[in-house]
């Protein structure tokens, strides 16, 4: 027997009550995880215009799924322990509990996967933002093209809210034409010069939109002729720090989302801990109550344990059971040999699921 504990009737009742409370707490945590997932998804959707793909959405999707599943699972656990003290109602839970342990183990694995993914997908998020922002900056001037007419407003509000400028930095604005042709006087010399000096006939400026301006700067914002020191009094392009936002929007958005996902980390870890403790307690309760029901005096002492035999023996038992189930369908011993390798692989999967906490 693995980790056996003696249980008196009173201890069993206490365990059932404690477990009932614990499982309701776990239901609450499941709700919290679900809400975290919804919040993360909403934030990602809000900025969907500057993101190219939606790979990163897998993190909030899994969080929401796990949240819902955990609510259901733990509610079932609370019903099970309500019935556990009633000898007539408990036996029907026997098969359910086996499935329950499997589901709880899968949930814990998924939660760990979420934590890993939230770090692993950072690169993909950056790539997606890079492409999305590049397009946004390119289409900034197209306020008269249907489908792109809100890019200007989106990028302006993004730069103001996240206090960033351009994709990697403000020089990204020097490389695109962000002033629409509608507002350029093609008869003026300055415009004609600029357009001629550019290969693609674009009007490029060493200037940025107003949304790049930093309110913390001590001087009124300088947006145009940024590289020309003589165009502005007492201005040095190389040493001017506070005039515009120095961060790029890709960096700003990545930092924001990473922070959001990291802050869900402690919540997820505590859900894993609570789920594991519910699992353990339910296993103890199940074995203790079953032991008590097998006695002549149902109110007597019984033993609760995690596994009936040692870990190794339980694994071998499961292996044997699985082989037996497979052997029922096998006629040819040669085919049996070939398929026993496949059976080995299946066994490895099966042994992983019913032993959640050992």
């Amino acid at each position: 027997m693995l980790l056996k504990i003696k249980f008196t009737q009173q201890r069993r009742v206490r365990l059932a009550q404690g477990l009932w409370l614990l499982s309701w707490m776990a239901v609450m945590w499941g709700v919290i995880i679900f809400c975290l997932g919804v919040y993360l998804k909403t934030e990602l959707l809000r900025r969907a215009e500057v993101m190219d793909n939606s790979e990163i959405h897998v993190v909030p999707n899994i969080l929401m799924m796990v949240g819902l599943a955990s609510i259901g699972t733990n509610w079932v656990a609370s019903r099970a322990c309500q019935d556990s003290l009633d000898a007539t109602r408990f036996p029907r839970w026997k098969v359910f509990l086996l499935a329950w342990f499997a589901v709880a183990a899968v949930l814990c694995c998924l939660l760990i996967v979420v934590v890993v993914l939230s770090y692993a997908l950072q690169g993909s998020l950056e790539e997606s933002l890079k492409v999305g922002l590049r397009n946004g900056i390119r289409f900034y001037k197209d306020t008269d093209v249907p489908g792109r007419c809100f890019q200007k407003e989106t990028i302006d509000r993004l730069q103001i809210e996240f206090r960033c400028c351009g994709n990697s930095n403000f020089k990204d604005w020097f490389e695109v034409q962000w002033v629409s042709n509608r507002y350029l006087d093609f008869t003026s010399k300055d415009v004609k010069d600029r357009i001629r000096s550019n290969v693609d006939g674009r009007y490029l400026l060493d200037g940025v939109p107003f949304s790049c301006c930093n309110p913390a700067s001590p001087r009124p914002c300088l947006q145009l002729q940024l590289t020309d020191n003589s165009a502005h009094y007492n201005y040095d392009y190389q040493s001017e720090e506070l005039n515009l936002y120095s961060r790029g929007c890709r960096q700003a958005l990545t930092d924001y989302f990473m922070e959001l996902m990291n802050s869900t980390g402690p919540g997820v870890l505590s859900v894993i801990l609570i789920q594991l403790s519910v699992c353990l307690s339910l296993r103890y309760l199940q074995t203790a109550v079953e032991g008590a029901m097998a006695l002549e005096d149902p109110e007597g002492d019984s033993e609760g344990f995690l596994l009936e035999k040692g870990v190794k023996e339980t694994l071998e038992d499961l292996k044997a059971n699985a082989l037996k189930m497979l052997k029922f369908g096998q006629v040819d011993p040669n085919a049996a040999e070939g398929s026993s390798e496949a059976a080995d692989a299946e066994k490895a999967e099966k042994t992983a699921s019913p032993t959640p906490a050992s």
Partner: protein, 344 residues
């Protein structure tokens, strides 16, 4: 003739006491709500006190905080009384002070109603404070090197961006003050010398606004400088251009923000007042039903409950008579002494 007479037996009394106890706990939470609303309002005023020239009156949030605390206290006490009313032994000790407690509750409800009224009325002084404060704030926009005022520029810029407003009444307010610091003006340039020369006070005024006035919804890149000069920009008409900069003035924007907040708080305080009146009436019923037991020894006997023992008019005349007699009590003594001295 009693006001709103209701007959009570034991079960009804118990139910009444339980209901009123429950309502008292709601009222305690309502008191916490009033307290937190006062705190929230205070914090919001502090956040923008720079823009109001640090002149804003904190009277209303302080009053809300005080009333919230008193509400919590009174209702917790009332709840305890209700809880004890179910047990005749415990209730005896409360019997004596219950009448004065009820009078206190009525006075307190009146004060709460006045607080709600204040929430709606304090909008007017706030309007004047905001107008003054914003005008001064704009004047100090350029003073980013003066200690004590160096953050005014950032505060104003952030406020204009957040509230989507420009200037005090509208964007032209920026044309009337110098918002570019002298540190960044080239006094050797002809243009600067012309502008300063043409102004009586030697100020550098321009028909331009800071970048924080720009509206991101505009289809064209923001035009901040030379706004009144149509020829300075291609395809630009100063009179018909609508989306370029924010149209609203910041005084109106802030006033509607704070006004909305005060209206909401006022409405909530009114609701709390209604709840308080309800629990006071409930407590009065508990009090009257427990004092009129048909058989004082038997807790299961019938009793009656009411709001006022006599009609409103009679109660009012009673109160006036009591007050007059209290006033006459001192007068009669003096008159009596005078009579005595004249007699003797």
């Amino acid at each position: 003739m009693v006001l709103m007479l209701v007959k009570f037996d034991l079960k009804k009394r118990v139910k009444l006491a339980q209901t009123v106890w429950f309502m008292y706990w709601f009222a305690v939470m309502a008191g916490v709500l009033v307290f937190s609303m006062g705190l929230f309002f205070k914090i919001e005023l502090r956040k923008r006190s720079e823009l109001m020239d640090n002149n804003e009156s904190h009277f209303l949030p302080n009053l809300l905080i005080l009333m919230g605390l008193i509400t919590c206290g009174i209702n917790a006490f009332g709840g305890k009384i209700c809880y004890d009313s179910l047990d005749p032994n415990k209730f005896v000790k409360w019997k004596s002070i219950l009448k004065s407690f009820l009078v206190l509750c009525v006075v307190f409800n009146g004060l709460l109603f006045l607080t709600a009224l204040m929430c709606f009325l304090m909008r007017i002084p706030l309007q004047f404070t905001l107008a003054e404060g914003l005008k001064n704030g704009m004047r100090y926009y350029k003073d980013t090197d003066t200690p004590g005022r160096c953050y005014m520029k950032r505060t104003l810029d952030l406020m204009q961006m957040e509230f989507r407003c420009c200037g005090n009444d509208n964007y032209r307010d920026w044309f009337e003050i110098q918002w570019v610091s002298n540190r960044y003006l080239d006094f050797g340039a002809k243009e600067v010398k012309d502008r300063i020369g043409s102004n009586v006070d030697g100020q550098y005024l321009m028909d331009g606004v800071p970048f924080s006035c720009c509206n991101p919804s505009s289809p064209r890149p923001c035009i901040q400088n030379q706004m009144t000069n149509n020829t300075a920009h291609y395809s630009y008409d100063h009179y018909t251009e609508e989306l370029n900069v924010w149209k609203h003035g910041c005084r109106d924007a802030m006033l509607s923000y704070y006004g909305g907040m005060m209206n909401t708080i006022g409405a909530l305080v009114l609701l709390v007042t209604v709840l308080e009146v309800a629990v006071t009436i409930g407590l009065q019923y508990v009090n009257s039903s427990l004092s009129t037991l048909a058989n004082p020894e038997d807790p299961e006997s019938e009793s009656e409950g009411w709001i006022l023992e006599k009609t409103v008019k009679e109660t009012f005349t009673d109160i006036m008579a009591t007050m007059k007699s209290m006033g006459k009590g001192t007068k009669v003594e003096e008159g009596g002494e005078a009579v005595v001295t004249t007699v003797s």
